[in-house]
Symmetry: C2
Subunit: 216 residues, 2 copies
């Protein structure tokens, strides 16, 4: 663990006290979110695509169909921007102006590197699947060569990234504390509902423990 170099692109200029470049902080936020948004330039326009990902050490993995426009473009080695956002709460101040949000976010710039070797590809897919649902990989039917051949996998090195976050209660102007306006934080969380069995599932298959334990 350590601290990333701050670059022109990752230096947080607005409210720099909310920023961190510590890998420990960055990894923890990356591990706590489900989806990232990838930004890239295609024919002169900015595009954003949401996608799942997984992390191991200082690498993020993403995957997709080998004929996806985005992944074809990634092979060209252009930089992409990866954004991860977790909203933890609405911060309700007495004034409209001081309303805010408690959040943890990452912005990261990187060059996608394609993974070609089937074994490495399989390992990366395992990391992505277990990021989405811990221990799922061990149960499923693993990808065969034909499936691997139509799946593109890329890694992004986490070396140009910053975290930004806010926690805590609202901060109002001094004179507004006398107002009878409800103020505080409404916590927000992502939760899971009761799993819905596939109707075609064989009767003898029971809900595995690793899924039952994520129920809320």
């Amino acid at each position: 663990m350590g601290k990333l170099n701050v670059t022109n692109r990752t230096k947080v200029k607005r409210l720099p006290q909310r920023a961190s470049y510590e890998t420990e902080v960055i990894y923890k936020i990356l591990d706590g979110a489900l989806v990232c948004h990838l930004g890239f330039i295609y024919k002169g326009s900015v595009n954003i695509i949401p996608t799942f990902y997984g992390r191991k050490d200082d690498l993020i993995y993403i995957h997709g169909s080998y004929n996806s426009r985005m992944l074809k473009l990634f092979s060209s080695g252009e930089d992409v921007c990866l954004s991860v956002t977790i909203i933890d709460g609405l911060v309700l101040a007495r004034s409209a102006f001081h309303h805010s949000v408690n959040y943890r976010s990452i912005v990261m710039y990187c060059k996608p590197e394609e993974i070609i070797d089937s074994e490495e590809k399989t390992k990366a897919l395992e990391i992505i699947m277990n990021h989405i649902l811990q221990d799922r990989w061990q149960e499923v039917r693993k990808p065969n060569q034909k499936e691997l051949d139509v799946t593109s996998v890329f890694s992004f090195k986490i070396n140009e990234a910053s975290a930004k976050m806010r926690t805590g209660p609202p901060a109002d102007d001094k004179e507004d504390y006398d107002l009878d306006v409800w103020a505080g934080v409404i916590p927000i969380k992502t939760s899971y509902d009761k799993p819905i069995r596939d109707e075609l599932l064989r009767e003898n298959v029971v809900l595995p423990e690793y899924i039952r334990s994520i129920e809320k």
Copy 2:
């Protein structure tokens, strides 16, 4: 309500059966999400910033500090890409390959238009705040001129956008239906926890009905 023209940028090429260009569908997804991700080019790099927004008719409004890098750039009239993603469920198939996700997403391309007039600006801020928390605006201390002057507000016309979504159970390869692997959908939702009162809140202020009613 109607259907947007499909452009080169909004035409969904991967799994086009999941796409929609109907404004009714697009508006509903936009109204159901909390945060959007904005992509823009700054000094040759793609940047992504998450932000709150609000919608009224065919306009999306966003706001921020007048000296934010992103909003200064928006004044230049360059196109931005707006992405909204709602994850509804993890789709667990018997094979790793057929794992998927139930989601509703929007991708939109637009030219930001700055709103200068204080009254229009205030109206846009009301739309943004009520998008985040219905009826909040009526209770709070409204922005004064000084606050409006340091807030930039932009509108984006929704005329180049597409929706993409998936629903339903996993779709496995025929021969995999014999496997004893649990398959189905784990629904995901964003929910609110019990509101946390600001410690400095006057004792007589009770939790308003519009906040109590969003508790889950």
